[in-house]
């Protein structure tokens, strides 16, 4: 299945990735090749097959809704690109 350049731009926007004009054609081609590989499964009739989302068909284990973690904000923020007064800094979002 061949993807149009405009479709690649749309999914790149959804994924918050930038695709350079110079590489857009190649990216579209590579992804189209991968979709061709994937499309081999369309030949199989799976109408009545229940999807398998977990290899053991297990469901999520729940735990009591109680606090188990202590406050480690300073330590956790040490890896952040920019922080101030315990807050993560990002470019201005409101004028």
């Amino acid at each position: 299945m061949a993807l149009e350049r405009s479709e690649v731009e749309k999914i790149a926007q959804l994924a918050r990735l930038h695709v350079d004009d110079g590489e857009a054609e190649e990216v579209a081609q590579r992804i189209s090749d991968i979709l061709d590989l994937i499309d081999k499964m369309q030949a199989i009739d799976t109408e009545s097959i229940e999807p398998l989302s977990h290899p053991l068909d297990a469901v999520q284990r729940l735990r009591p809704d109680s606090v188990t973690e202590t406050d480690r904000r300073d330590e956790l923020q040490r890896s952040a690109p920019t922080c101030e007064a315990g807050l993560f800094l990002v470019p201005k979002v409101i004028e």
Binding site: L17, D33, M41, I44, T46, S79, P91
Partner: protein, 488 residues
């Protein structure tokens, strides 16, 4: 002490023949001398390793019983290590220092193992050759013009070149087993949920599983005894008693039923590899096993289904890399959208971006049923194939990879690279345990034999692999690289 196993060194540590500090210095020295040839390690933590070794020697003197106490270990750089950089092979995390240890790391630390460093890998574990790493490719110690396989290529090369005694790896589609095959060592992927994924950087959450990369099935059993078990911090880890994986290693194989999948001996399989596996099967017959032809009729769909499930889950998991809380951030972003896009485009490599795009496409509005749901339905068919087979046989045996290690740069087409994992991927989709062990050579390069068992039959699989290694010496062969000048 070159080439020794955990089992052997553990005895030497107890008889006082060597100490953990001596052993650790020996390995750090080897790494210093040859890592630049192989690029197996991204980070070496000398100071911490020596401190851990000293502590281990004290514990050993006090009668510590864990067989991994004092043994030098390498962690794939996908496992978070408190205070030591964890890069996941990516520019995105090139400077990331985790504030906590992965459960697997914590368990090895608690048992007294010595962490030598963090091993190279394909970026975010996406690759089958270790060529997608931001830190450069790893070289195969059997032939440094060739790839070590991937994504746990650094761990596999480090074990094969004896730059550590044991290593951790992760396997989402073959990432422990295929590099183990290419590097002539033992690589074991347990059942999904057997080992905690906490602190193991996520790629595809319904497929990812940690496992041992080491020199023998016996060592894999020793490592499993440390790694396996329920973890309240990983809600998908399984609440099932952990057996002593070393207890049944010596069980005889009389009456063992081995399934040989016709689909794994079909077109595309290299003749030398096929011969090595057929010879291995004969060995099993001598050990009392019977061989039964079986079918895995939907195996050919596994790569297709995998390249929906894995990228879809990856696109969701990797959305966390936004340049806000940790990891790389682009210079001078003009606004939030610009920051997200440039951070992610500059921080991720081409293969990671490709998979994010494929996964985003598969999950985008209107396509879910045709892709993700369809792939999950195929996944059920694949699992059912295995369940049917395990009604007739105890283990399934075939090649790990269609051929031995290929040359660096030989596979520039992503789809050709994806097909490398044609025999291993179905096992992840089905959540089963699988192992690759050395079974011969093709033009001087190691060939791996792949064995699969039913859900949580790890002990049986290790027993079968161990008996094969008792009867053969393929796992005792070392690359000439190891015996080079000054390397003994």
């Amino acid at each position: 002490m070159t080439g020794k196993t955990i089992a052997e060194l553990s005895r030497s540590l107890r008889t006082g023949e060597t100490s953990s500090v001596e052993l650790t210095r020996h390995y750090l020295d080897r790494i210093k001398r040859v890592n630049s040839d192989l690029n197996a390690y991204i980070t070496v933590c000398e100071e911490q390793a020596l401190a851990q070794a000293e502590a281990a020697d004290k514990r050993l003197a006090g009668g510590e019983s864990s067989p991994v106490c004092g043994i030098p270990l390498a962690h794939k750089d996908i496992f978070c290590t408190r205070g030591i950089t964890t890069t996941c092979g990516s520019r995105m995390l090139a400077n990331f220092v985790s504030p906590y240890d992965a459960t697997v790391v914590e368990k090895f630390n608690a048992a007294g193992a010595v962490t030598l460093g963090k091993t190279n890998m394909d970026e975010f574990a996406m690759g089958s050759s270790n060529e997608t790493s931001y830190f450069g490719p790893v070289k195969n110690p059997w032939d440094i013009k060739r790839v070590p396989g991937g994504s746990s290529g650094g761990s596999a090369a480090a074990v094969a070149a004896d730059l550590c005694v044991m290593a951790t790896g992760t396997d989402t589609g073959g990432s422990i087993r295929q590099p183990a095959a290419f590097c002539g060592i033992t690589g074991f992927k347990p059942s999904y949920g057997r080992i905690s994924r906490f602190g193991m950087i996520a790629f595809a959450s319904s497929l990812d599983q940690a496992g041992p990369i080491c020199k023998s099935a016996e060592d894999a059993a020793i490592m499993m005894n440390v790694m396996a078990g329920l973890d309240p911090r990983d809600s998908t880890s399984v609440d099932l008693a952990v057996p002593d994986y070393t207890a049944d290693l010596e069980q005889p194989l009389d009456g063992l039923r081995i399934g040989i999948p016709r689909q794994h001996f079909a077109a595309g399989l290299n003749a030398d590899v096929e011969q090595a596996i057929r010879d291995g099967l004969q060995e099993f017959e001598k050990l009392g096993a019977s061989l039964i032809d079986i079918d895995l009729p939907n195996n050919h769909l596994s790569v297709s289904a995998y390249y929906v499930v894995a990228p879809a889950e990856a696109s969701a998991n990797l959305s966390r890399y936004d340049g806000v809380r940790y990891g790389y951030r682009c210079e001078n972003p003009v606004d939030l959208d610009d920051m997200y896009k440039r951070t992610r485009s500059e921080g991720f490599g081409d293969e990671v971006k490709r998979r994010i795009l494929v996964g985003t496409y598969a999950l985008s509005a209107g396509f879910y049923d045709a892709y993700y749901r369809k792939a999950q339905q195929i996944r059920r068919l694949i699992k059912q194939d295995f369940l049917n087979a395990f009604e007739q046989v105890d283990v399934i045996v075939g090649p790990t990879s269609p051929h031995a290690a290929f040359e660096l740069g030989a596979k520039s087409d992503p789809v050709a690279m994806y097909l490398e994992d044609i025999y291993t991927i179905a096992v992840n989709l089905a959540g089963l345990p699988g192992i690759s062990i050395p079974a011969g050579f093709s033009k001087g390069l190691p060939v791996g034999m792949h064995m699969v068992a039913g859900d949580f039959q790890e002990a049986r699989l290790l027993n079968v692999a161990h008996k094969f290694q008792r009867a053969t010496d393929w796992h005792l062969r070392h690359p000439e690289f190891n015996s080079g000048e000054g390397l003994s």
